[in-house]
């Protein structure tokens, strides 16, 4: 913890550190297909396989599906980005 | 290793292999290797109307990576055995 971090993410030095630091946080995961998944990142592994909770699937910006838990196979992942939680979801 | 072992036990049974290009081939499983490459004998293409050029193909080697599905014979599926093998595999990493 060397301070200067942005919005509670903490200062991260490497991509791997970033991935470690975002567990439990709301994220958006974009796949190569362009589909977005928004939810809470439960955990991830070295292949970028991802487990998410309260997952919402967006195709062309439209909500298409909801999953309680979701496993995403890492090879499909384009990026993982942290988000602020939707206002509607509250705490 | 789980599925390699499983398919080895399935040798001699009739299966339908569905490829990523939508071709479906039914035949007797002759052999399988660690990449899940598959050799089928006495083959016939499920939709012969659509793939007439496959009519004379009697056996074939299928590269594992082009497989989408394999339809399995119910007699060739021991659910309890699969559960045990899967748990063992999961523990092993």
């Amino acid at each position: 913890m060397s301070g200067g971090g942005e919005k509670g993410t903490g200062t991260t030095k490497t991509p791997a550190d970033f991935l470690k630091s975002i567990r439990g946080r709301p994220v958006v995961v974009k796949l190569n297909s362009g589909v977005d998944y928004r939810g809470i990142l439960a955990c991830l592994d070295g292949y970028m396989n991802i487990a998410m909770e309260q997952t919402e699937e967006y195709v062309n910006g439209q909500l298409k599906n909801k999953y309680g838990d979701a496993f995403i196979r890492g090879n499909n992942v384009l990026y993982i980005s942290t988000t602020r939680r939707n206002l509607a979801d509250g705490a | 290793m789980l599925f390699f072992s499983y398919f080895k036990e399935l040798v001699g049974r009739e299966v339908t292999v569905e490829l990523k290009n939508d071709l479906a081939i039914r035949g007797t499983l002759h052999s399988v290797d660690q990449y899940l490459n598959i050799k089928l004998e006495n083959t016939r293409v499920v939709d012969q109307e659509k793939y007439p050029h496959m009519l004379s193909v009697r056996n074939c080697f299928i590269r594992g990576s082009v497989v989408r599905y394999v339809q399995l014979p119910p007699e060739g599926v021991d659910v309890e055995l699969l559960h045990d093998a899967t748990r063992r595999e999961a523990r092993g990493g």
Binding site: C43, A51, D69, F71 | K20, Q71, P73, R87
Partner: protein, 97 residues
């Protein structure tokens, strides 16, 4: 709770492990979806599913109006081996706690 260790989700594949012998939803490449009971899987997400329903979604263009027509084709298969490289997403049944 003796199974505290067993039921914890520490890595993504644990989500799949906990779904063994449960009905799961699988989203595959080329607009395919499966629902079936998970009987076996490995680290590549190769799977054997039982009592499977496959839904294939295709979009056709109407010859005259050029409207997009979404068509879904369903079929049932008793037992299916699914090669892992086509898997995009797996969703277990809703778990309580």
């Amino acid at each position: 709770m003796a199974s505290e260790e067993e039921s914890a989700v520490k890595e993504p594949l644990d989500l799949i492990r906990l779904s063994l012998d449960e009905r799961i939803y699988v989203k595959l490449r080329s607009d395919r979806e499966l629902r079936g009971k998970l009987h076996a899987y490995d680290q590549h997400l190769n799977m054997i599913l039982g009592d499977v329903e496959e839904v294939v979604t295709s979009i056709e263009i109407d010859d005259e109006t050029y409207e997009e027509i979404v068509r879904t084709t369903k079929r049932n298969v008793p037992f299916l081996f699914v090669r892992g490289d086509g898997v995009i997403l797996v969703s277990p049944p809703l778990r309580t706690a």
